[in-house]
Assembly symmetry: D2
Homo-oligomer: 158 residues x 4
Amino acid sequence: METMNRPALVRTRYAETDQMGFIYHSHYFAYFEVGRGGLARESGMAYAGFEREGVMMPLTGCSAQFVRAAKYDDLLAISTRAASYSAIRIRFEYEVWRIADRAARLLATGHTDHLFTDLSGKPARLNRRPALWEMTQKIGAYDTFPDLVARGLVDAPS
Amino acid sequence: METMNRPALVRTRYAETDQMGFIYHSHYFAYFEVGRGGLARESGMAYAGFEREGVMMPLTGCSAQFVRAAKYDDLLAISTRAASYSAIRIRFEYEVWRIADRAARLLATGHTDHLFTDLSGKPARLNRRPALWEMTQKIGAYDTFPDLVARGLVDAPS
Amino acid sequence: METMNRPALVRTRYAETDQMGFIYHSHYFAYFEVGRGGLARESGMAYAGFEREGVMMPLTGCSAQFVRAAKYDDLLAISTRAASYSAIRIRFEYEVWRIADRAARLLATGHTDHLFTDLSGKPARLNRRPALWEMTQKIGAYDTFPDLVARGLVDAPS
Amino acid sequence: METMNRPALVRTRYAETDQMGFIYHSHYFAYFEVGRGGLARESGMAYAGFEREGVMMPLTGCSAQFVRAAKYDDLLAISTRAASYSAIRIRFEYEVWRIADRAARLLATGHTDHLFTDLSGKPARLNRRPALWEMTQKIGAYDTFPDLVARGLVDAPS
């Protein structure tokens, strides 16, 4: 189960900065997607596999709150969890942490809401798709700190 | 005052599509920015002018809700208004409409929250900056329908 | 024919700036695409129509040369022409001009090379697709200056 | 020296796909930038450090040739080298490889040309900046295959 708590790592790109010298806010939604894709991969089924099985997950809503700005070349850890889900929809929640000097600082939080649909855009009842349903049920909480310590990215609290 | 209600027009780009065939959600935040920039320009002071005056408007939060998906080459109207503001922060709200066949259909709504800061990132009290303060006070509600009719983009309701 | 010479207009976005304060270079390729899409629309068949007819135009190469940097909120005119083509490939060439103070200054030039393929990615012989072939043959040179003058965006040379 | 040959790894994002189902071409220029940033980091001085020292590297030109298309969730290795340089300019060359099934396939090649300038945009003679000059001189050829083998990402040729 501990692999569920493995955050995706992202290094910010120059392409993602803006003239304020910060990462432009819309890119956090791409970072969230990296976290979501990593969560899918950790749980044994890459997101690309969903689409090959004929399931898409279009967004119906999203939000982000920004605590501190990210800058170019920052190393970010994206913690992701499935906050709630049913047979037809799922909500993911995210935390974006900057890893520097063996410590993690919270930069942003956010969420995305998704429908499960078939390739034509009609709702797909996920509980009739056992592999994806099982994956969804496996996804737990995101106390990612132990994993960051285990990977040597941050120090354990003393 | 009616110029306050002039929505910005955006044509979606192929670069903004994703493999579902829809516009990827993060680009709506760039469309919101186009709406915000248009609102600033309509009110007599381009956003670029704020920065030249030493005022930045970093985001502290944002959200979007998606009603219908946009596709490549859609013509979108971005309605923007200042929903609330004080001397140190401002909230913008947005509606994204698709213009086609002389009618408008709502695709998405959203908001962004901004701080006013100086170039070093410290809060800037806007009421001590008359030009920007005046602009902020001018920004009203966004019944943009009359403008879309006036520009011949949609038909008036019969 | 003069509509062939109508450049697409793009206003640069804050999202497209980088921390040098310039438009990040990769966005010029999206601007080129706007020019390409505008050219297709001017010639009577939107690019989206090609894909509905089962023709895709994947890139095989591209380049850009930068003369002057674009900045936030610049108004750009994208001049596009089909420099050469055959039944299986096409090359577009581009010029990006900044429109300001009723004059145009060259910012960048570039090209893109495309294959014509069917939806499975196999080469599609365009001369067997009359509508697209006719459109391709119509596309001429890009002396766009008269159009910019006619639209009142720049002054005619004295 | 062998660290010079360590390619940057990038996993493609859903945000980077287009409705053809491929990675949109402009993102390769962001991947090239990731390779460039990795090269700078390997050589002992992060690119962010250049700007802190007052040196920027605006692009004057770039190109890419596409051999095979990348798709969502591909793992890419970006090989980067300084192909030529002088005190005032530098050319980087890139190869983008897809890593899958313990083998690497070439997807794209490209180049970027840069000027060295100070923060006001004026040319900066790099040979008067010892740290950056030394870094530039250290950057060698990019036979990255041994590194990919060493990291267990691809098999050694038999």
